[in-house]
């Protein structure tokens, strides 16, 4: 066997592995889409049927009419965009400081950053609510946006790990050339950490997009609700509107899938330091 043959066999083997695993990971999504297209009587037949009979495309228009879809969509989008912006602005900067700069109290603060994640949100939820209540923010989307501008521990920790992996040599070289710390961060280190920053942005985007508890507690005006809150409106005691609910869920996931599909290259593709070092 020549090397190209070996390579071909390797590649087809990889495809087979990936296809099998894909099938496993595709199930929930296919189920969601197929349910969204089913007539209500078909949703809970047993054993389950995967192909809607007939296809009910009007589930989508019905679902959109069932709730003020466009209002909720724009509410959700505003909260998502702003909070993602906040995270992307602040977290890399803080993480950089934790990873590459030396300052007094750094380790203590980093330990605290980790520690605050170890207390389940269920017990800090009420004190936090009372704080926002004092600030007069209950009934506004601020509690869902502003804290993100001040950093999120999970992302700071993640980005710190990435910055730690970047060679110090680059930074040292730039500093010797007289660049300020901010410039080093902005022009050298941040671009290098771009894949991680993009990933963090994506996580926050998804978190805000699907957040239920935050909007539930802080939005009191029905006109300012988000889509994830609306999803609950399809559930009720006398039999939930499963197909409509899945239609909205599918619509909700589409933008993220498209975004992920096109952005993944940017945040997954590696960067080679050799080129920069040159």
């Amino acid at each position: 066997m020549n090397p190209t043959h070996v390579k071909k066999i390797k590649i087809s083997f990889a495809h087979i592995c990936l296809l099998i695993a894909s099938a496993f990971f595709l199930i929930p999504f296919i189920w969601m889409v197929s349910t969204s297209l089913k007539p209500i009587e078909q949703v809970f037949t047993f054993p389950p049927e995967w192909i809607p009979k007939p296809f009910r495309w009007d589930n989508y228009s019905k679902a959109i009419e069932y709730i003020p879809f466009w209002t909720y969509l724009s509410n959700t989008a505003i909260i998502t965009i702003l909070s993602t912006l906040g995270v992307v602005l602040t977290c890399p900067l803080v993480a950089y400081s934790f990873a590459k700069l030396k300052w007094r109290g750094r380790n203590v603060l980093f330990a605290l950053t980790l520690a605050v994640m170890m207390i389940p949100g269920q017990v800090t939820m009420i004190p936090l609510f009372l704080l926002f209540n004092k600030l007069g923010w209950v009934g506004t989307p601020y509690p869902l946006i502003i804290p993100q501008f001040f950093g999120v521990p999970f992302y700071i920790f993640l980005l710190r790990q990435f910055f730690l992996g970047l060679p110090d040599s680059l930074r040292e070289a730039a500093k010797m050339d007289g660049a300020s710390e901010l410039r080093v961060y902005w022009q050298i280190m941040l671009p290098l950490a771009k894949p991680a920053v993009m990933a963090v942005g994506l996580f926050q985007l998804m978190a805000s997009w699907t957040d239920f508890l935050g909007p539930l507690l802080y939005l009191t005006n029905q006109e300012s609700y988000t889509l994830s809150l609306a999803l609950q409106q399809f559930q009720n005691k006398q039999g939930s509107e499963w197909s409509l609910m899945m239609a909205v869920s599918t619509l909700l996931t589409l933008p993220i899938i498209i975004l992920f599909f096109f952005l993944q290259k940017t945040f997954i593709k590696g960067i080679t330091f050799s080129g920069i070092k040159g």
Partner: protein
């Protein structure tokens, strides 16, 4: 290995020319860079945290401030059978789930990092389950794992195995949940992928020159250089596993059935805080959990010096 050493040497040479001045400077800059987070940490995280410590010494009920009762909540925890059961369940889950999620996550990420056609589509597929709402995931799994008619037992039947009752069985309910949770590893796979992307191709090129095979490259380059990210996912995986809540709660409608085999720590904490009006007790539970996770994290940090390799150093 040789290749790695060569490269490290090269880097060290650059590092030798270090200016001491920049280190002093970064003292003020460091604080300044971290300042938004210092404000956020104190305001949105530490403040509620400190309040919850106080609550843990009271009979606070959310609706009433309650009285200061000292250590009584903590003493009561020690003899609460459901509390002990929930610890067992949670530890069981964490012990199996965390290592499994890391092994599967890394393996998947390495598969998804190959240069073959259609990779963008594969990657998107592995990310999909994280986008499906929890209620839907719960309902779907109850179908798949239905003992009589589910796909899983149907498949096992085909190969001549009589499948268990899965979610209906005390023995199999937790393994089922672990299995279900693995569906959601898309997020950590993304992190691993980003980590893999950060590994300089120079290492591989140098290794190829040395004639290293796939196995050697994986265990001497890829995995060691992925350790900062594995480290991150290990710490976060432990925190997440100990705080497991949404999926089992949705799945069992808060009951932890069968026979409390799916009553996890935070589920019991939630019931105490929000249903039995014992937020003081729930806060005490939270702080016990905090201590456990903290100890584990410290152990990981302490051990990390031996196994985590930062390219930068």
């Amino acid at each position: 290995m040789k290749a790695l050493e060569k490269l490290n040497l090269k880097q060290q040479q650059v590092l030798i020319v270090k200016s001491k001045k920049s280190n002093i400077n970064s003292g003020a800059t460091g604080w300044l860079f971290a300042s938004p987070w210092i404000i956020g940490l104190v305001l949105f995280y530490l403040l509620p945290l400190v309040v919850s410590i106080y609550y843990s010494f009271t009979s606070y009920s959310i609706l009433r401030p309650g009285e200061f009762i000292g250590l009584q909540n903590y003493k009561e925890l020690l003899v609460d059978p459901l509390f002990l059961k929930s610890i067992y369940n949670t530890v069981y889950f964490a012990v199996f789930y965390v290592p499994l999620s890391i092994i599967c996550g890394v393996a998947l990420a390495m598969m998804l990092n190959m240069k073959i056609k259609g990779m963008t589509i594969y990657r998107t597929i592995f990310f999909l389950p994280t986008l499906v709402p929890h209620v839907a995931i719960a309902v779907l799994w109850m179908w798949l794992l239905n003992p009589g008619f589910g796909l899983v037992n149907g498949f096992l039947d085909m190969i001549g195995i009589k499948g268990p009752a899965w979610l209906g069985s005390e023995t199999w309910s937790k393994p089922s949940l672990i299995f279900m949770s693995l569906w959601g590893i898309g997020q950590s796979v993304v992190i691993y992928l980003a980590g893999l992307g950060d590994i300089s191709s120079e290492y591989y090129e140098a290794a190829e020159v040395d004639g290293a095979n796939w196995f050697q490259k994986t265990f001497h380059i890829t995995l060691p250089l992925l350790t900062p990210v594995i480290f991150f996912n290990l710490v976060m995986g432990i925190i997440g596993a100990f705080q497991q809540f949404t999926l089992p709660y949705t799945l069992t409608q808060g009951q932890g059935k069968p026979a409390n085999s799916l009553t996890f720590y935070v589920m019991y904490l939630y019931d105490n805080g929000f249903k039995y009006f014992r937020m003081g007790y729930a806060s005490a539970m939270a702080w016990v959990l905090f201590v456990v996770i903290m100890v584990l994290t410290l152990l990981i940090f302490w051990s990390s010096k031996r196994w985590v390799h930062y390219q930068g150093k």
